[in-house]
Symmetry: C2
Subunit: 302 residues, 2 copies
Amino acid sequence: MLDVCLLGTSGMLPLPNRWLTSLMTRYNGSSLLVDCGEGTQIAIKEKGWSFNPIDVILFTHYHADHISGLPGLLLTIGNSDRKTPVTLIGPKGLIKIVNALRIIAPELPYELQFIELSENSHHFEINGYHIDAFRVMHTVPCYGYSISIPRIGKFDVNKARELNIPQVFWNKLQHGGEVVIEDKVFTSDMVVGAQRKGIKVTYCTDSRPVNAISLNAADSDLFICEGMYGENDKECKAKENRHMTFEEAAKLAREANVKELWLTHFSPSLIRPADYIDNIKTIFSNVCVGADGKSVILHFEE
Amino acid sequence: MLDVCLLGTSGMLPLPNRWLTSLMTRYNGSSLLVDCGEGTQIAIKEKGWSFNPIDVILFTHYHADHISGLPGLLLTIGNSDRKTPVTLIGPKGLIKIVNALRIIAPELPYELQFIELSENSHHFEINGYHIDAFRVMHTVPCYGYSISIPRIGKFDVNKARELNIPQVFWNKLQHGGEVVIEDKVFTSDMVVGAQRKGIKVTYCTDSRPVNAISLNAADSDLFICEGMYGENDKECKAKENRHMTFEEAAKLAREANVKELWLTHFSPSLIRPADYIDNIKTIFSNVCVGADGKSVILHFEE
């Protein structure tokens, strides 16, 4: 299972009762964060999730509302008795920016490891998380992320018995290994079925609606996407500032055939985002307005 | 009148429902801020005070909890249509630190002016604020601030009439000017009484209780002082981390003969600071636990 929390939903500015847009996931004891603007550490504390297991921090881009909370967060992770490295991933320039901000957080009891993105797409596997970064279109280099938990195929007990493989080797074969028994080689595919559908969450802010988004979000269980403006007549403004309207996000969700869409990164001028949600249900019905602390636990399908 | 608001009361970490310690004052259309940790801009918004008139930002020191909110605040001031310079004052290193943090706030529609402190005391006069900075004792260079609004002496109408000074010159003389009428020189002191008691607020965090504090806080209308720990048995910890207990702050207030003491900068471990307030009322009775957004309007005495 993958535990997902949208920590905040504000774009541009943190507001009273609306934290800056940020995502946190928990899987198998390892936490992952996407973006951390001013106040994200308070949103995490409010949610009640721990700082110590934050192993990976992904950045979409380096506008202040997506990274201004980093120095405080790094110090708070340090106060949680963290000793093992934390991996930071983001567009080119990451090291320079983080090191500049660390002028007020110079001493940390753990190491930072950096991965800078420069290609149109990157793939990483960290602590069971399969992370796909894909370049989107904003006013500065910006990436969306798909976070997947793949699910191995079903182990065929009958097949394993037929092949006389002792039970002690089953676990190894189930997880892709191979074993040699009396000069006979047994490989995983002999006893494990085709890979089953895993869990996939796609997160995208800030961007115009480009093909890379729907391609990468394809068949996601949850698609969290920016909706800077609810009003359709703000499309010009959205184009100018390289953001999206609710309608544009809904069209991406439909194209990508996702199960569910949460909107986030609302303009400070968008006081009641829920007022604009009915307009887009004809485009994509399983949509909801994100809310600070909104969570879901995603399970493998039965 | 001077409008004073304690924006937050947390030390070390911002917490849900406890913003980081910061002070804001308003006088004659000009606002002044002391420290801005992560979230201070949200606290200002919550209070309902404007960003545009913030002319001066004072820093006690550069631990993250006192400056981490600066990049976001500078951007938000920029969004408020600010065009005129903002003056930043703080211990030596200010320019280097602010420029490093501005890696995520490089473009501002107004200029920043810097004043770095290196002496034991400094005096500034900005927009009617008389600011006294005084060095205190923390783990890094740190300053306390007294913010005073002086009050000119009473204009003696009878004296002015006796001297046959035409009324058109009264205002100039009242404000310290001099006028020449038919070769006769009239100076301010001829018609204006001794300076009257003004308004004075003293703010001090983070520090051990040193003499400079009670000397500079002398006769303040309001003394806002750190009280990192409520429990007296935390004195050793306070000494080690260069902070104060409630009792130590109360003793300073008594020595300084201030009218009122507000405590702030509470340790995250101090869940209910109000539990420890009765213990120190025997030392200084007019004390209260600071609270986020706690305000007072200070007037000249009648």
